[in-house]
């Protein structure tokens, strides 16, 4: 069960605006999905180790060798609001 308040809390953590209708709908839908998920609790998992990676990798580090960076223009080419050679964003203080 996930109520409106929890939906709003999670949406805030995820930086996601929701309309009132969306909050309502998500609350209902997420509750039914989470109810289904929660049948996991039928299992005794106390002695089971978690798996984060299924396939062991070989040597996952790289040598400290420089590679070319992107051209400045390319780096900024897709910016919604480029300014002063950087990516402009509204102030967090406003």
């Amino acid at each position: 069960m996930i109520d409106r308040t929890q939906v709003l809390h999670v949406a805030r953590l995820a930086r996601l605006q929701l309309t009132d209708d969306e909050v309502e709908r998500m609350s209902t839908e997420l509750s039914s999905i989470l109810d289904h998920i929660e049948t996991i609790s039928e299992l005794d998992l106390s002695d089971v180790a978690p798996t984060a990676h299924v396939v062991a990798s070989e040597g996952a580090l790289r040598a400290d060798a420089p590679r070319a960076s992107l051209d400045h223009d390319v780096a900024l080419a897709q910016a919604p609001d480029p300014a002063d050679d950087g990516f402009r964003v509204p102030s967090p203080q406003a």
């Binding site: 949406a11 930086r15 299992l43 798996t51 390319v74 919604p80 509204p90 406003a94």
Partner: protein
């Protein structure tokens, strides 16, 4: 040269051979596909090459300039890569995904980008910001998802083959629903670099093809350890993906998991599946029951792990460096409005589930538990593969369903992937092969094997393919488009 109207009927392997023999011009083949793709009415493509490139160099390479359709979420330098999302509308990456670059180096030529569920989240392709894709067998039905555009394009003859990605079934399920072959390789065997991520620990790129040979040929040029992807692994058998040739299954032990194949499977699908098992026996295989006691919890674990990783992977879409931005006076509103206005409902749903599952106080009950279930499921498969060579199931519990049939009930949509998800969690390879029809629509047979057993799977699938002699031309069937 070859009659133009027949060019798109060639399998990729046949085209490669014809170009190599000098019987076919690569540019002519490209043009034929480009014109077909540009005129298509399935909404399978979101971008099609606007001209035929100079293929003289590519035609000398192993894959001879044969065109390739690429799922939209693969980054293609200078070409729109939108992952089915409005937030990436018009986004042109400054680099190629490793697998895209690798296949170009092997001689494929980029024909187009294919439609998909937004950020690969979906089983019907109805979650695309660029509209749903129609199933070439019946335009009122879904092609499956999330790689629906790639599957529909290959099935409809709009591409000889295509790239897709599979997180919980997104190659296998649309391959099944469109009557073609789809391979989800062993996790890590194909680089994920440049694939716009959904769930990092599950995402895997793979081929769609009209037949098993083409799937093997494309995959043979896709795999390999990539120094840019720390989770990628080289195949233990090096570069040896062989094109399958055998027509018998003598001695092959097939396992049918009781724990998975119970309720919820459409009768027509079940009939086609049982007939496929009989065919396998006829080719010399044995069929036995195997236990996968925890596979039934796969969906539960998957719908924690995948959304959790997605909630994190999609945090980069924040309106700062690229993509759409909603204007606002302050930062927080810019973030929340951008993500609200330019992300679709299913994406939001999964971001919320994932954020919830990782949030303080719920991590152990959800995320940690799901990872433990993942351990149990992987262990189940290891145990099962001690007794059988391959595990077989229907790929999907049903055939292609009507557009709109499941959009209002997310859980019923999720249940489409009940057979494919446990395999994704275990990271093992599986292939979907068309094995017959139900209600005039294709049914897929899923063959899964231990990690890196792609050759075994391809060999078995090839033998079955010869025996099924499935006609994968949608227009040949009664349920053809009106």
């Amino acid at each position: 040269m070859t009659n133009l109207t027949n060019l798109t009927d060639l399998t990729a392997k046949a085209a490669v051979d014809a170009i190599a023999a000098g019987d076919l011009d690569a540019a002519e083949l490209f043009t034929a596909y480009r014109e077909a793709a540009a005129a298509e009415d399935l909404n399978a493509y979101t971008w099609v090459a606007d001209q035929t490139p100079d293929l003289s160099a590519a035609a000398a390479l192993p894959l001879r300039g044969v065109p390739l359709a690429v799922k939209d979420l693969f980054c293609t330098q200078g070409v729109p890569s939108q992952a089915g999302s409005k937030i990436l509308e018009g986004y042109r990456p400054p680099y190629d995904a490793t697998v895209v670059a690798q296949l170009a180096a092997a001689g494929t030529s980029l024909l187009g980008k294919t439609n998909q569920d937004e950020f690969a989240m979906g089983s019907s392709n109805e979650n695309s910001a660029y509209g749903p894709v129609k199933n070439p067998w019946d335009h009122t039905r879904v092609p499956g998802g999330s790689s629906g555009g790639s599957a529909a394009a290959v099935a409809a003859g709009l591409a000889p083959w295509a790239l897709g990605t599979d997180t919980g079934g997104s190659i296998r399920q649309p391959a099944a629903l469109c009557g073609i072959v789809g391979l989800k390789p062993t996790y890590g065997s194909v680089s994920r670099y440049g694939m716009i991520a959904f769930a990092s620990s599950l995402d895997q790129a793979g081929p769609f093809a009209r037949d098993v040979t083409d799937a093997a040929l494309l995959y043979s040029h896709m795999h390999g350890r990539d120094p840019r992807d720390a989770t990628s692994v080289g195949r233990p058998d090096a570069d040896a993906i062989a094109l399958p040739t055998g027509e018998r299954l003598d001695g092959l032990r097939l396992g049918v998991p009781d724990d998975l194949t119970g309720e919820g499977v459409e009768p027509g699908v079940w009939t086609a599946f049982e007939a496929a098992l009989e065919t396998a026996k006829g080719l010399g295989a044995t069929v036995e029951r195997v236990a996968l006691p925890h596979a039934g919890y796969g969906l539960n674990a998957y719908y924690v792990i995948a959304p959790a990783e997605a909630s994190s992977n999609l945090a980069r879409f924040d309106g700062v460096r690229y993509g759409a931005r909603a204007e606002a006076d302050d930062l927080i509103t810019m973030y929340t409005k951008t993500r609200h206005d330019y992300m679709g409902t299913e994406v939001k749903r999964r971001i919320l589930i994932g954020t919830y599952a990782l949030s303080s106080g719920f991590y152990d009950a959800y995320y940690a538990s799901a990872q433990k279930v993942r351990t149990l499921i992987a262990r189940d498969f290891t145990t099962a593969f001690a007794g059988v060579d391959l595990i077989v199931t229907p790929t999907s519990p049903g055939v292609a369903f009507p557009l709109g049939a499941k959009t209002e009930d997310p859980l019923s949509m999720y249940l489409n992937d009940i057979f494919t998800i446990p395999i994704s969690l275990a990271g093992i390879p599986a292939l979907s092969l068309p094995c017959g029809l139900s209600e005039g629509l294709p049914v897929g047979l899923q063959l899964a094997g231990p990690a890196f057993s792609e050759n075994r799977i391809l060999e078995a699938a090839y033998a079955l393919e010869q025996a099924f002699a499935f006609d994968n031309t949608p227009s040949a069937i009664g349920g053809a488009p009106s």
